[in-house]
């Protein structure tokens, strides 16, 4: 059995065990969940030394690693086919890490503990499965599995407007899923399995242009398919103008769920574009590169401006996520090795940085019971340790050198500038706005006279530090020495860049 | 005087009287009496046809059968009426409308 199967389905087993435990023994449930996630994290981390960084993956079945393939639904040639390459492996690391850290961050939850942790672990299964699936149908199934727990986690454990947010999130994402489903079926019925001659859901077969037949060879169909998949993934990113579910969902979701939502789920969108859209429809994608770059640029500037106008701390962080995901889109729109690698590295870095930001918002919310930026003031003197970590996270979000965000942003700019000069130059101005709103927020929250209401507010505690410090260390370490993550993806993404640059646009 | 017609006239009169009693009276006992009258009219017809037509005693037997039926019927009916009276304190059939929708 592949270790990937193990890390995917262990959380479900954990969830089942949790459901079997006595309902009111919160401690036991929490520690079971933590233990499950820890085991997953350890297994995932132990894959790191075994991972061969030279192997390419992307569209070459033989060079995927830790693969496993079983027939699942033979009637439709659907397989349980999993494996990782340099694109998905960093995402799996991120998922395992954030899932683990989010569990202690959820220890404060008092309502329906059993259901919460069971759903949370189910969510982890969905996320892992999405990243490792190599069969489009399997991918779709995991994609939907992820959706359901999220709906309940927001809808039950969320804030005052949780129902609205959960429904909005669910419906919005479902629209994207439907688009994807249609394109998936179009691909299925027009792709020939080179071995059996029948239809296939195997992504790697779909990527081989020689296997594609029939209607999907038409340019017009390909454009429709491009936009179908694009919208399906763009909603998840979320790309302008499909982003409005994100602030609502974040504001209402409990802290740990926000972390997962921003840290992992948003990456699914860009991951899907790179994993599925790029190799399957390369020449269509290349001819719409300008479009992806444009949306990326809009995301950066627009998200930053919207963040500046927010008064709710969590909403501000949510909009900053939108802005930061724009860098990913800008980087990957260039189809250069630097841009793609910058984009995927930015996905990883944004996962860690935004996780820190949301955890930090959660810390202050637990103490002050509100998130109004203007309602704080002068916390620097009463919460020095909290301020230190917040500064780290904020400056990382600003892309300050020495922290991981800088390297990915620099790579994105270097990669994108070679192709999209105007887009990149406009996008660079986003870093001023980012600095503006983050510093302004720092000032309003921490500087000035201490708000008399919060004179005896408690500084960050050990449990919260436990969730934040690993992320902080990663952010600093990767900012100084990015190789551990960059090298993972180098050969895969260089290969993808070569693939994309060798096609002729429409 | 010994002709069939006279028997039939009497019988018809009894039957019509009994029928009228059944249709018009509200009191259960009166209706029961009407029914008895009609039964007796039938019995009279049996006997009369038996006397004037054939040599066997089929008609007589039928008349005796009717008498027995009438007696059994009266017993059952009176039992129902008693229960009705106990339930509704009345013997009028119109009041026995428990099954009405």
């Amino acid at each position: 059995m592949s270790p990937l199967t193990l890390i995917t389905f262990l959380p479900v087993v954990g969830a089942a065990i949790i459901l079997a435990l006595p309902r009111h023994n919160h401690k036991l449930i929490q520690w079971t969940a933590l233990f499950t996630a820890l085991v997953v994290l350890i297994i995932t981390a132990s894959l790191y030394p075994q991972f061969d960084m030279q192997k390419v993956g992307i569209n070459q079945e033989a060079t995927f690693q830790f693969t496993e393939k079983h027939s699942w639904i033979p009637a439709f040639n659907i397989n349980y086919h999993v494996g990782v390459d340099g694109l998905s492996f960093p995402m799996i690391l991120l998922t395992a890490l954030l899932s683990f850290l989010c569990i202690p961050a959820s220890f404060g939850i008092k309502k329906g503990v059993q259901g919460y942790f069971a759903l949370f672990l189910l969510l982890e299964t969905g996320m892992m499965g999405t990243f490792i699936a190599l069969d489009f149908f399997l991918f779709y199934v995991f994609w939907e599995i992820m959706l359901l727990p999220m709906y309940f986690l927001i809808g039950i454990w969320g804030g005052p407007r949780r129902i609205y947010a959960a429904i909005k999130f669910f419906l919005y994402t479902l629209i994207g899923s439907v688009m994807m489903l249609v394109v998936m079926l179009m691909l299925y019925f027009n792709t020939i399995d080179p071995v059996t001659g029948g239809h296939t859901f195997n992504m790697l077969h779909m990527m081989d242009q020689a296997n594609q037949t029939g209607i999907i060879l038409l340019h017009s169909t390909r454009i429709i398919m491009f936009f179908g998949l694009y919208i399906g993934f763009a909603i998840k990113i979320p790309a302008f103008p499909f982003h409005t579910w994100l602030p609502d969902a974040h504001v209402e979701a409990p802290t740990a769920i926000s972390v997962i939502l921003a840290g992992v789920l948003l990456k699914m969108g860009t991951y899907g574009i790179i994993r599925i859209l790029y190799p399957i429809l390369p020449e269509t994608t290349v001819s719409f590169g300008w479009f992806i770059a444009l949306i990326g640029m809009i995301n950066i500037i627009y998200g930053a401006f919207c963040a500046m106008a927010q008064t709710d701390l969590k909403k501000l962080v949510a909009y900053s996520s939108i802005s930061h995901m724009g860098y990913v889109m800008l980087g990957m729109s260039a189809f250069t090795a630097a841009g793609l690698q910058g984009a995927v590295f930015q996905m990883f870095n944004h996962g860690t940085i935004t996780a820190m930001l949301f955890l930090l918002v959660g810390v202050i919310y637990d103490r002050a019971h509100h998130r109004q930026i203007n309602g704080f003031g002068g916390l620097a003197n009463v919460m020095p340790r909290y301020m230190g970590i917040t500064l780290l996270a904020f400056f990382a979000g600003m892309g300050l050198p020495g922290l991981s965000g800088f390297i990915s942003e620099a790579m994105v700019f270097i990669g994108a500038f070679q192709v999209w000069k105007v887009h990149t130059i406009i996008a660079i101005f986003g870093i001023i706005i980012t600095a503006g709103y983050l510093l302004w927020t720092l000032q309003r929250v921490f500087f000035g006279e201490t708000n008399p209401k919060y004179l005896d507010i408690k500084d960050i505690n050990g449990r919260e530090l436990f969730t934040l410090i690993p992320l902080g260390i990663i952010v600093i370490f990767l900012g100084i020495w990015p190789h551990p993550v960059l090298d993972l993806m180098n050969s895969s993404l260089s290969h993808l860049a070569n693939m994309m640059s060798s096609v002729t646009p429409l | 005087m010994h002709c069939l017609d006279s028997y039939l006239f009497v019988s018809a009169a009894m039957f019509v009287l009994g029928l009228l009693a059944v249709v018009t009276r509200k009191n259960a006992v009166s209706i029961l009496m009407g029914i008895e009258l009609m039964l007796n009219a039938g019995a009279l017809n049996f006997v009369a046809f038996s006397r004037f037509s054939t040599a066997n005693l089929d008609g007589h037997v039928a008349a005796l059968f009717i008498l027995i039926i009438a007696a059994a019927e009266a017993a059952v009916a009176l039992a129902i009426f008693l229960n009705l009276y106990r339930l509704k304190a009345t013997s009028e059939v119109d009041k026995a409308n428990l099954l009405r929708g």
Partner: protein
Amino acid sequence: MYLRQFAVGALENSNIDNIMFQLAIYILLAPLVAFTINIFWGKRYLPRGGDWISITAIWSGCAFALYMFFTKVLGNYDPNYFQSWQFDWIRWGDYQLRIGIALDNVSLIMLVVVTLVSSLIHLYSTAYMKGDPKYHRFFAFLSFFSFSMIGLVLADNLLIIFCFWELVGLSSYFLIGFWHEKDSAANAAKKAFVANRIGDVGMLIGILLVFTAMGTLNVTEVIAGVAAGKMGGMALTIAGLCLFCGAIGKSAQFPLHVWLPDAMEGPTPVSALIHAATMVAAGVYLVVRIFAILTPEASLVIAYIGGFTALFAATIAVAQYDIKRVLAYSTLSQLGYMVMALGVGSYTAGFFHLVTHAMFKACLFLGSGSVIHAMHGALHHIHSHDDAQDMRFMGGLKKYMPVTFITFLIATVSLSGVPLTSGFMSKDAILGGSLAYFMMHPQHWLLPVFGFGAAILTAFYMFRLVYMTFFGEFKSGPEAATALHESPRAMTIPLIVLGALSIFVFYSFNPFNPASGWFSTLNPQPDRAYEQLQAVAAHDTHAEAKSHDSHSKHEAVEKAEHNDSHGTVVESHGEEHGEEVHATDAGGHGGGHDVHHTAHLIAMVISIILATLGILIATMGYYWHKIDPNVWKKRLGPVYLGMYHKWWWDEIYEYTFIGGTKLTANILAWFDGAVIDGLVNFVATIGRFVSVVHGWFDLYVVDGLVNLTAWIVGIFGRFTRLFQGGQIQRYVLYTIALVAVFIILKVL
């Protein structure tokens, strides 16, 4: 190729080179280690908040820097000295972005300046910051700042320069906003960071342009690439100006000058460190570094920006009353000088002024800190809430603070450009350079006007400051005066050292000819890359005919071939008037030397006259009281107001850029909530409306049909029910009636 040779060479044969590297790395990392220790453990576990760790780190670094300087630059001068040490930092595809540290004469000199000033300020801070609740954090940040600045000096790659560039911005953010309880300090810190970021955007674009054209960011390789013609013309001009944007931000040139005066909200040692010697000098240092790739057009823009800033800031400094603000605007003005010098091609003069200015301006800031320290005590003594930095409450302090006074006066004299000082030499060289440029390009007459205009104003406002602070009567009353005292030794020693370094002997033994000093001799102007390119082109054209006639051209070709950008062998070594050996631009090959010589003499005479004049006016106004400043304020009217209100630039920015940004943010947020989210909700509403209509249709049409059927059946039912009265008697009647009917029908 060239790099590898040096790197390998360094490892193989030269022991001293190895030591140099180890020392450089030590100098770089020691403050970082000090920062890490102090920020985490300084307050709780270390005596004196761990200040001794920071001090040890920077003093030892300074000692090593001096050692390197004396062995390599002074002792064993090699005009082509260059070493670098690199490693892969980022990889993508087959490309490896290598970063590392590079040592050459320029970086060694800069290293000495940075570590020396920083060391003295560390020492000074032990007294100045004594008793502050965040004492340990202050030293941690000082160390972090030193680390960033040293890294900036040593960096060999534009991207890594950018990294340290931003880190310098970050540490200045912490230091300016050190007293963040004050809103003004928090605002100033934010303003500084954002203003720097704006410049950084330009710089980043410049870096991207350079990288896209050349595929490398290593400074040496970039210069070699330009010399080899990989980039040129308009693209190179734009790239050069974009890179210069970074310098505009960091060196606070117009129009991004607004952050620097506000940054005076930080503790005074910070002002001295950041705003005199190091951070603001970083911008100039960057221009020094990229000097070789600047095109004439780019240089011209740089010269105008610098010249304008020099004059513009000087006019504001004249009307300020806050002692630190005067110095802040004077810093702006002096930075303008340096930038202008680099713009007009007086490389050596610009860099020289950077060094001398670092010394005397640090001295001035620390001196003002000493004054503020004393004033603070005095005003506190009388429970006054007057501003301890306002010169109108000072006066006559020379009696009470003799050391501060004397060192301050030396630095003032130096800044004003009085002979026998370092400032005279460097400023004179700049003025000479701008005058020479004007003589070669008469249409640019504004540049020397800027320069000389700023010179007279500088002398005036500095002496105004000295007279208002140290002479006359103490304005806060005799009771407060009793509390005045000279600052402790930890504060006066740095003043003495820096004051001494403002005297000519350290730079040149002939006070009227800096060119004969070590600095100018050892820092020849590097050849412009485009000039090399032209030389190569010329060489190619006349290759056969004149292959051996032009020594310099031949040399240029050789250099281009060797990818070497660092100055030619200095022929001027020991030459008498060799301040500018090389022509300032392509057009000046022939007469450059003479023009410079003449310009230098004229400039010296004019600048002495102007400095004297400025001092004289200040003396008349503030010492002899022959001129009443208040009368002149009225006479100047709006001009004075403009000076006093800093020409309203803060207000202009507040209403245009800052207000505009906030407005845009609010509009976009509204747009997001109302339009985009509104659209989403509208779609949802349409969905709900459709479902309502559909529900109605379902209820009344689809279900209606069903109900209609049922209704018809019901009608029939009701009709038949008529016959079912529940009365058996009626049934009997019906039966009878029917039977009767049948019988009648049968009979009929």
